[in-house]
């Protein structure tokens, strides 16, 4: 089970109403390498992975939900006061027609989130390698969004999230090292 802390993992500040940036950011909300995919992928893989790395998947999967919440806050703040006209100009006309200002799990191109974005192969090495790749892809996505964004407040939060992807990738790589270890040898780190 989970306990909920009624605060964001890192503060989210937005300088100005900017629905165009929201359209790009939604990639990290409902995209293939977004935070929802990450959270569901890791938490689901926990059941069929060696005991030693279950806790890691729980911790990181949980943190991904905290990131999801930050992205949601960003998208909401960027669009909440946008007029239908501004939404249309930002390329969010189709989104507005379907959802008004509501958030929805889809990527920057409007494709709805699908479970086919995540895998559970049941092979621990295959699953962890997918997790490492997912973290690097999410890191790259944050880079591309930072490159396009001119909102310094928002970029501050995005840089935090990008750094977390690096740390997560590192921990998954260490998990692979643990599972690779020869079982008849004792190795101390």
């Amino acid at each position: 089970m989970w306990y909920y802390e009624k605060k964001l993992q890192y503060p989210v500040k937005v300088s100005e109403c900017n629905p165009r940036l929201a359209k790009f950011l939604i990639e990290q909300y409902g995209g293939a390498d977004g935070e929802l995919s990450a959270a569901l992928r890791y938490l689901n893989q926990r059941y069929s992975i060696p005991d030693k790395v279950i806790g890691l998947l729980t911790d990181i999967g949980t943190e991904e939900f905290a990131h999801l919440e930050m992205i949601a806050a960003m998208v909401y703040k960027l669009t909440k006061d946008a007029t239908p006209e501004q939404m249309k100009e930002a390329g969010l006309g189709a989104h507005y027609a379907n959802h008004d200002h509501a958030l929805f799990y889809h990527d920057a191109a409007g494709n709805p989130w699908t479970a086919t974005y995540i895998q559970a192969k049941g092979d621990p090495i295959a699953d962890l390698y997918e997790d490492i790749a997912a973290e690097e892809k999410a890191r790259a996505t944050y880079q591309w969004i930072i490159n396009m964004s001119d909102d310094p407040c928002l970029n501050d939060s995005l840089k935090f999230l990008r750094e977390r992807e690096i740390v997560h990738s590192q921990r998954f790589r260490e998990a692979v090292e643990i599972l690779k270890q020869e079982q008849d040898k004792k190795k101390f780190y």
Binding site: K159, I166, V167, Q170, R173, Y189
Partner: protein, 72 residues
């Protein structure tokens, strides 16, 4: 020396429709090099760590990176 960014010079044809981008860059964050993290590494002060997103200077990778080779 470790650099968080690498670059290459892609082939450009005289028949390319757009002006060529001479150098292409990509990120190589520190997690690619660290291996299993050794114990006892230096840590950021707690408040700074919460701001930076990591407790470990060895894993901190500012973006956009400004460390590039002299000619790039």
């Amino acid at each position: 020396m470790y650099t968080p960014i690498k670059w290459y010079h892609p082939y450009a044809s005289t028949a390319d429709p757009c002006p060529p981008i001479e150098w292409k860059y990509y990120q190589t964050p520190p997690n690619l090099y660290l291996g299993f993290q050794p114990t006892g590494l230096p840590q950021f002060p707690l408040k700074e760590a919460l701001y930076k997103g990591t407790l470990w200077p060895v894993l901190f990778d500012p973006y956009p990176s400004h460390v590039r080779g002299e000619d790039h």
